[in-house]
């Protein structure tokens, strides 16, 4: 019977918490954008003229097919992260794309139209060097894979290995490239640096070594970077020290020395300090490469050369030129060259490869984004037009990972911002009021009121009212104008100018900082990129911290955000201050940071311009304030004694707390050392500054109150054991007061290991770890209570806390691994909390906090039922209705950002990883909003009906009374 009650209780609670979106709500307030990352290989499908496919492989281990007309994804395969899924090579022949994955671990063939896997072979171990398609008599049948010490040949249609051979002297010779011409031979080229080149010929049929020779090349250090094969098996190398080209026919047995051709003979010179690059092209793997090739002599100088009869002829000199690339359509090969036109634009022109002659009317103007980076890759798609001339489109990749697809005469067909595949940190900022609303606000600005007299104020008021009227009329006119047009042609374009805060503040500006150093301002409602800014000279391993110093609430002052960029190598930081709505760099003078910055601290103290004060702590524990006006320094002096900060040094296992002195120096007040031999600190989290807790306690079954221990200075410190043996490993959690350094609570989870994900909020900490004994993921929740009485209900001071809190803990089994964890956040904190769990499958689970409650009883009692506590069950359920992103999975979700909206019931959620997904969640359902399907017509018709019915019946009653009176 009791069991039945328990089950009933669980099912009732589940019913209550279920909150999936309805079918008609799909896409209404959520959107997803899919990205691929930085393109490493891109191949256009030239198999048929009408093909729209563009195959790309990226540094994010993504292999995808893009629609070259729209830029959308046809399909995308996301492989494992890290070296295991690294795409080493991409080859394409006909409908098949062959990919080498994981440093030569796997060889896969994909069908390009639907993206299905045709076959997959596991290759022998050994680090990958090169792969090439091998053709026999005009037909490509094989793919050859070169490893450090072996070569193998695989059938292109089935993937089965034809033969595999060990390479001779592989311990001394570094084999680097592979080449196959038309003559039934595979050449493997190796090098002994600064000594000689080794060339091994293999017979295609059985892998028999036909010939092996070594050629002196004392100047050469790497084959890959300085050599290319041109014409019918001529190895061509370039050396910047001797300023010469070297040629060697691969097949000839007699020539044992490379022939040197001085660049001076061609009147050419390599720019000092630049490593020249050779680019050749082999349009058909079954045929030898073309005899024409590009030689790049300096960053903006390319030359088209031709190798003919042992001589090198200059076809065309492109100076200046940024990028050059070959493309083939049918039998014709062309070269596209990008040259600077003026400061903001480049022109791309087409030249015929065999003569160097310029094709007429083939210019594409590429306008460079003034807020973007320089172009660094050019991919050309050539096609034959109806009149048999060659047409082309180009895809340009820039330093800031923008892919731009252009067609003649410079029309941008599509654009992709691939920097967004690697979002590091983000914030959401309220949008400003509209211009008219702002006008009204400005009218009542303090400064204006003091300066003007009464009459100007009246005039101002009238004029602003007039502007409002004008805006309203314009809005009406627009509605009327749009209503006449068919619905499909009305474009809902979002621009910065028309952006304004909506009634419930549901639409916000998303600021995203990406690892490449590009900043984005994205409209949260539609996902439109409203502004972007590329910060140049950002080191790849920089650390970013984004701080909102002034919101849009202080109207005449623009909102202000500060990005702290710290270079990991030098340790030096720099500040970038900008307006988050328009993306413009602020003119405010920024303090220079001569010393490495350790941490920042945003104070609630504001200066006279309503900007919050940011403190930067350097490695000598000196503090720099920004902004640092006199007013701010005065305020800092007044409040210095109550400003504390903590630093956590994971490498030394040290947590230290500091107090600010009046002269902006600091004094160490506490230190906690966690010995690094045993455990290391993995993460530290305080509470979010914008978090509100509505209820100070919990109501018990007997109607008494258990008060929450709401210490705003509490830190949750997670440690992991250095010993990773499954019997001895553990995960530790310390709750430390950040002001006093007092350890409020500590807990150890034995036989557990990371990665630990955790959320610290209100009076609870939820963390997830891997239980290595039972081999499962477990959730553990810690809740802190003060007890039945509040120690001090008016002020909270960490320095005056004599009683330790009561700590309750409970653990649960979670049936899936997780990627990230975050809690919902609402305006006033009245709405119940949910945990948002990012799963590796790409789903985001909205888990009610009610399930993670250490007070869940094992035995149901009257009191626990009164409290609505769910009986304890070790397994945590995962229900599909709780997936807030239904089928819009977010690949490799890395972080979830939550922000409150103007509605108490609604929390805005952004999940980012490879993809970006934005939605709204309603943890307690939409208690403050009418439902979408609310029947306005019915309600209003009933109301009007009743109203008229009363009117009529009143009249009837009067008539009746009168009649009765006359009777």
């Amino acid at each position: 019977m009791a069991w039945l009650v328990v089950r009933l209780a669980i099912s009732v609670s589940l019913l209550y918490a279920a909150s999936a979106v309805f079918e008609d709500q799909v896409g209404k307030f959520d959107w997803r954008q899919q990205f691929i990352g930085k393109v490493r290989f891109a191949l256009f499908d030239t198999h048929s003229q009408a093909s729209k496919k563009l195959l790309v492989a990226t540094d994010k281990n993504v292999f995808a097919s893009l629609n070259s007309r729209t830029g959308d994804l046809f399909w995308r395969h996301v492989d494992k992260t890290g070296p295991e899924g690294h795409i080493d090579a991409l080859l394409m022949y006909g409908q098949d794309a062959v990919v080498v994955v994981g440093n030569g671990r796997l060889l896969r063939s994909w069908e390009t139209t639907v993206g299905g896997l045709k076959w997959e072979t596991v290759l022998d171990t050994g680090s990958f060097q090169a792969a090439a398609l091998v053709g026999v008599q005009d037909l490509v049948k094989y793919v050859a894979v070169l490893k450090k010490s072996a070569i193998s040949l695989h059938d292109l249609s089935s993937g089965s290995q034809i033969w595999g051979e060990n390479l001779p002297d592989s311990d001394s010779v570094q084999y680097q490239t592979i080449y196959s011409g038309e003559n039934g031979l595979v050449f493997v080229l190796g090098i002994v640096p600064n000594s000689h080149i080794v060339i091994v010929e293999y017979k295609i049929e059985d892998g028999e070594i036909m010939n092996k020779k070594s050629v002196e090349a004392a100047w050469m250090s790497s084959l890959e970077s300085s050599c290319a094969v041109v014409s019918s098996g001529i190895l061509l190398c370039v050396d910047q020290i001797t300023q010469s080209l070297y040629t060697l026919p691969l097949q000839s047995a007699e020539q044992t020395e490379m022939r040197q051709i001085h660049l001076q003979m061609l009147d050419l010179e390599v720019a000092s300090g630049f490593r020249p690059v050779l680019t050749s092209t082999q349009p058909n793997p079954a045929q030898p490469p073309l005899s024409e090739f590009f030689l790049q002599l300096s960053p903006d100088h390319h030359i088209l050369l031709q190798f003919k009869d042992g001589l090198i002829a200059l076809l065309r000199d492109f100076s200046p030129s940024y990028l050059a690339a070959f493309a083939t359509s049918g039998e014709r090969t062309v070269a596209a060259v990008m040259s600077p036109k003026n400061d903001t634009a480049c022109s791309i022109n087409l030249f015929s490869a065999d003569t160097g002659r310029k094709h007429l009317d083939t210019t594409i103007i590429y306008h460079m984004d003034p807020n973007g980076g320089k172009p660094n890759r050019l991919y050309v798609h050539a096609f034959l037009k109806k009149d048999d001339s060659v047409g082309y489109r180009v895809m340009v990749q820039t330093e800031d990972l923008t892919l731009t697809f252009l067609q003649q005469p410079g029309r941008v067909v599509w654009m992709r911002e691939e920097a967004l595949a690697d979002v590091v940190t983000m914030e959401m900022v309220d949008l400003p009021f509209t211009g008219t609303q702002a006008e009204l606000e400005g009218e009542f600005g303090k400064k204006a009121a003091i300066q003007d007299g009464l009459l100007p104020m009246v005039l101002k008021r009238l004029s602003s009212q007039f502007i409002l009227l004008q805006a309203w009329l314009a809005h009406l006119w627009k509605l009327f104008y749009d209503a006449r047009k068919p619905r499909s042609s009305v474009k809902h374009e979002v621009t910065i100018d028309i952006l304004s805060r909506d009634e419930f503040n549901l639409q916000k500006m998303m600021l995203m900082v990406t690892a490449s150093g590009k900043l984005f301002g994205i409209d949260s409602k539609s996902g439109t990129i409203l502004w972007k800014q590329y910060l140049e000279n950002i080191q790849p391993n920089s650390v970013f911290k984004l701080i909102v110093q002034r919101t849009t609430a202080h109207f005449p002052h623009p909102p202000q955000c500060t990005l702290l960029i710290k270079n990991k190598d030098t340790g030096l930081g720099s500040l970038y201050v900008f307006n988050p709505i328009f993306g413009k760099k602020s003119q405010i003078s920024v303090p220079t940071l001569p010393r490495p910055v350790l941490q920042t601290l945003l104070l609630p103290v504001i200066d006279q311009d309503y900007a919050k004060v940011l403190l930067l702590i350097d490695d000598q524990y000196k503090v720099t304030a920004f902004p640092s006006t006199k007013n701010v320094l005065q305020q800092l002096q007044d409040t210095a004694s109550s400003i504390f900060f903590y630093l956590v040094d994971s490498s030394q296992g040290k947590l230290s707390g500091f107090r600010l002195r009046k002269d902006l120096s600091t004094e160490l007040i506490w230190e906690v050392v966690i010995p690094t031999e045993v455990q290391k600190i993995v993460a530290v989290k305080g509470k979010r500054a914008n978090e509100h807790v509505h209820s100070q306690g919990r109501v018990m079954g007997d109607r008494s109150v258990l008060y929450k221990y709401l210490n705003p200075n509490l830190l949750a410190v997670i440690t992991e054991s250095t010993d990773t043996h499954q019997e001895r490993s553990f995960v530790g959690i310390f709750l430390i007061d950040g002001v006093t350094g007092r350890i409020v609570h500590e807990a150890v989870q034995r036989k557990a290991r990371g990665p630990v994900h955790f959320v610290h909020s209100e009076n609870w900490v939820v963390y997830v770890y891997w239980n290595s004994k039972f081999r499962r993921n477990e959730f553990s929740v810690l809740e802190l209570f003060e007890g039945a009485e509040l120690y001090n209900s008016t002020v909270f001071s960490s320095l005056d806390r004599p009683h330790a809190p009561q700590v309750l803990q409970q653990s649960y089994i979670f049936p899936a691994p997780i990627n990230t964890l975050e809690a919902t956040l609402t305006e006033k904190g009245i709405t119940s909390r949910h945990l948002l769990v990012g799963l590796p499958s790409g789903n985001i689970l909205s888990l009610p906090k009610m399930f993670l409650d250490p007070r869940r009883p094992e035995l149901v009692s009257e009191q626990s039922r009164e409290e609505n506590l769910i009986p304890y069950a070790p397994e945590m359920p995962i229900r599909e209705e709780w997936f807030i992103n239904y089928n819009q999975t977010v690949s490799r979700v890395r972080g979830i950002y939550t922000a409150p909206s103007g509605l108490e019931s609604t929390c805005l959620v952004v999940a980012y990883g490879l993809d970006i997904y934005q939605t709204r969640v309603f943890p307690s359902k939409q208690f403050d909003v009418l439902k979408d399907d609310y029947d306005y017509i019915l309600i209003s018709s009933v109301l009007f009906g009743l109203f008229f019915a009363t009117m009529i019946s009143k009249r009837l009653a009067e008539v009746k009374l009168l009649n009765r009176a006359w009777r």
Binding site: F644, Y646, V684, S797
Partner: protein, 148 residues
């Protein structure tokens, strides 16, 4: 038909008061209608069985309305008590009657309070006051994190 019953009704909680108010307005409306008719039609048009006397139940309603107001402004209660004593002035056993009156009233209130208490309507638990506790003010400002 005096204070104790009315007091108990009023103290039982908002819902009861509201109900009272509602019925009270209805009755007021009725009485006004009746009055209107009276003045317009004169004595002639009374239907059969109609009496000019105020309906007894109206007085109850009137008294209740007074009581509601009394509950709102407690000073009135005192006035009411004084009036009750004024009525007793002519009696010889004034003090005894006053005492009985007082005890009766107290007993009535005690019963009402006991009833409310047993129904859990009185805000006697700390949880009833939980929503009114303001979040405590922070005295220290703290921040920081892992060394960047």
């Amino acid at each position: 038909m005096t204070s104790p019953g009315g007091g108990a009704l009023a103290a039982r909680g908002g819902a009861t008061v509201k109900r009272m108010k509602w019925s009270l307005e209805l009755s007021l409306g009725n009485s006004r209608n009746r009055g209107d008719r009276q003045s317009k039609d004169g004595d002639v048009m009374y239907p059969v069985g109609y009496s000019d006397k105020p309906v007894p139940d109206t007085s109850v309603q009137e008294a209740d309305r007074n009581l509601v107001e009394k509950h709102k402004r407690q000073a009135l209660v005192c006035v009411c008590v004084c009036e009750a004593f004024k009525l007793l002035e002519s009696s010889s056993q004034q003090w005894l009657q006053g005492l009985v009156y007082l005890i009766g009233n107290l007993l009535g209130s005690a019963l009402a309070i006991y009833k409310c208490q047993s129904m859990g309507l009185l805000p006697t638990h700390s949880s009833d006051w939980l929503a009114f506790i303001e979040p405590p003010q922070r005295l220290e400002i703290m921040g920081g994190g892992m060394v960047m």
